[in-house]
């Protein structure tokens, strides 16, 4: 039953650069409709795991199913939305408007050698509206703030109406004021639009009250389960997961 409902199912995945393993024996299934936080310190293999899921790195050992199809045979990449770490992958001087950037998210769906029409323009406007950026459609992406840019990238990722949205450290470079409203938007996508979310972060404290599931990664998958189970872990177990004190509890004791 669980198998059927998993949007992504990872079994026995190992990955190494040269002879150093960065991922070992990873088993992870992401249930449909969940909001899962994949946490781990820097260098824990989070980004590598994401790249493997997205097909940017080849699976060396183990298997990955996407929507029940083995990854090697999977063709419907438009069902997976991806928001990368902004800082890494785009140059802010690029002369592109918000609507041009978001239209990029439809390229695969439209298909090779074809050009977007009215239907696609409307889809772009709808996605931009869903992230609250409709008044910026004709603005250059480089003229926006970090938080606004990240919203535009979410719009690009959801414009093809994917079933799952994968976010790699999406709030890096977004000021704390906007982080809250950013997470409110994610909750909206998850609850109202029934989108499965996989959020990768090194900072577990900020997501504990937002996600439904947690996976703790540091080369091995140390914990994988619902938030309810996670909260029940005691200090000692948490410390074993992370190897040092973490900020999980701070957040809850704030109130």
């Amino acid at each position: 039953m669980m198998e059927e409902q998993a949007v992504i199912n990872i079994r026995n995945v190992n990955y190494r650069y040269e002879s150093d393993y960065v991922l070992k024996n990873i088993n992870l299934s992401i249930p449909k409709g969940s909001f899962i936080g994949l946490v781990g310190p820097n260098g824990s293999g989070k980004s590598t795991l994401l790249k493997i899921i997205l097909g940017l790195l080849k699976v060396q050992e183990g298997e990955i199913d996407l929507f029940g199809t083995p990854q090697q045979k999977f063709k419907e990449w438009e069902r997976i939305g991806f928001v990368s770490q902004k800082a890494n992958s785009f140059n802010t001087g690029f002369p592109a408007t918000v609507s041009e950037v978001v239209m990029g998210g439809l390229a695969k769906k439209i298909g090779l050698f074809r050009r977007p029409g009215q239907k696609e323009k409307e889809a772009v406007e709808k996605a931009v509206k869903a992230v609250g950026m409709e008044s910026f459609l004709k603005r250059n992406i480089g003229d926006l703030s970090g938080g606004q840019q990240q919203r535009v990238f979410i719009a690009r990722a959801i414009v093809s109406q994917p079933s799952i949205l994968i976010l790699d450290e999406p709030t890096v470079g977004v000021d704390s004021q906007n982080v809250e409203s950013f997470y409110r938007m994610l909750t909206y996508l998850n609850k109202e639009l029934q989108m499965t979310l996989l959020l990768v972060t090194h900072d577990i404290g900020t997501i504990t009250d937002k996600v439904t599931h947690v996976a703790c990664l540091n080369k091995y998958l140390h914990f994988h389960g619902s938030m309810k189970q996670f909260i029940k872990l005691d200090e000692q177990q948490l410390s074993d997961l992370y190897g040092h004190g973490i900020r999980l509890l701070d957040h809850h004791h704030d109130h």
Binding site: S89, F94, E100, G105, A107
Partner: protein, 288 residues
């Protein structure tokens, strides 16, 4: 008095264009190149590949030199337009650059000096073999108003159609590849194939453009109009249109002044585009 002279000159030039085939060839080629060089250049600039254009133009030169030499050495080959050798070498060079970029993953820019010096090295050897510089070679280096043949024009037209059709059909793929390469790959579009098509087109455009602007300045016509347009446009489509407009103005102004002043058009075209660039920078500063 001055006005009459200008009108006379206008008439002289238009009459000359109508009379002389070589001028028709030069102006038609120039008008076409004024469109395709900045069109492709817009993608080259935003992908930070401007220097690759430079490297490829030098490889194209070695192809031209090889063509001129072979034409001398083997009479049967003298019927082949050296431009085709230039295209062949340029495409070969682009494939080598790609190969080198994957060999030196962390020092991708190394591919550029390797290919550029290789291009010049091979070029110099063929030039020496062909008994040094000739007027022919000079025209390839700096462009020419008088040396463009019907065959050159034909090659330019064919390549331009290929470029425009490909960019029209692959626009959205080229756009996301330029904007965000990782995302392009993750989104499942055939990024490698699109990049391959792009790099081949670049090589071909460089080879045909140098007939008018010359080897040494061909990359300028691909980058300067774009550099100017980027300062003042909103969005990528606008950037492309304005780049083409600036490119066209540069080529026409450059060719006309080259005709009157008896100069190599490469120089006048590039100086015009630099003037446009400066004007745009100053205007933008004043406005803000």
């Amino acid at each position: 008095m001055i006005i009459i002279t200008i009108i006379e000159r206008e008439t002289i030039m238009i009459e000359a264009i109508l009379t002389y085939e070589f001028l028709q060839n030069a102006f038609l080629s120039g008008i076409i190149i004024g469109v395709i060089a900045p069109l492709l250049g817009a993608f080259i600039v935003v992908r930070r590949l401007s220097l690759i254009a430079d490297a490829l133009s030098h490889v194209a030169l070695s192809g031209i030199a090889a063509g001129l030499f072979l034409g001398q050495a083997v009479p049967a080959l003298s019927a082949i337009n050296p431009l085709y050798f230039g295209m062949l070498f340029s495409v070969g060079g682009s494939l080598l650059i790609e190969r080198l970029r994957s060999v030196y993953k962390h020092y991708q820019e190394l591919a550029i000096p390797i290919i550029m010096s290789g291009g010049i090295g091979v070029g110099v050897i063929f030039i020496s073999l062909a008994d040094g510089f000739t007027t022919d070679l000079f025209s390839y280096l700096f462009g020419s108003v008088s040396a463009v043949s019907r065959g050159d024009l034909l090659a330019i037209i064919v390549i331009s159609i290929l470029v425009i059709v490909t960019i029209f059909l692959l626009y959205k793929e080229l756009f996301i590849l330029s904007f965000d390469e990782e995302y392009a790959k993750a989104s499942g579009i055939p990024a490698k194939a699109v990049h391959f098509a792009f790099i081949i087109l670049t090589a071909l455009v460089i080879a045909v453009s140098m007939r008018i602007v010359g080897v040494l300045l061909v990359s300028a016509l691909m980058t300067l109009p774009v550099a100017a347009a980027m300062r003042i446009t909103k969005g990528f489509t606008q950037t492309i249109w304005l780049s083409v407009f600036f490119g066209e103005v540069s080529v026409l102004a450059g060719l006309v002044s080259a005709f009157y002043l008896d100069l190599a058009p490469g120089g006048t075209i590039v100086v015009t585009s630099i003037l446009i660039l400066l004007a745009v920078i100053v205007w933008k500063k004043e406005r803000d």
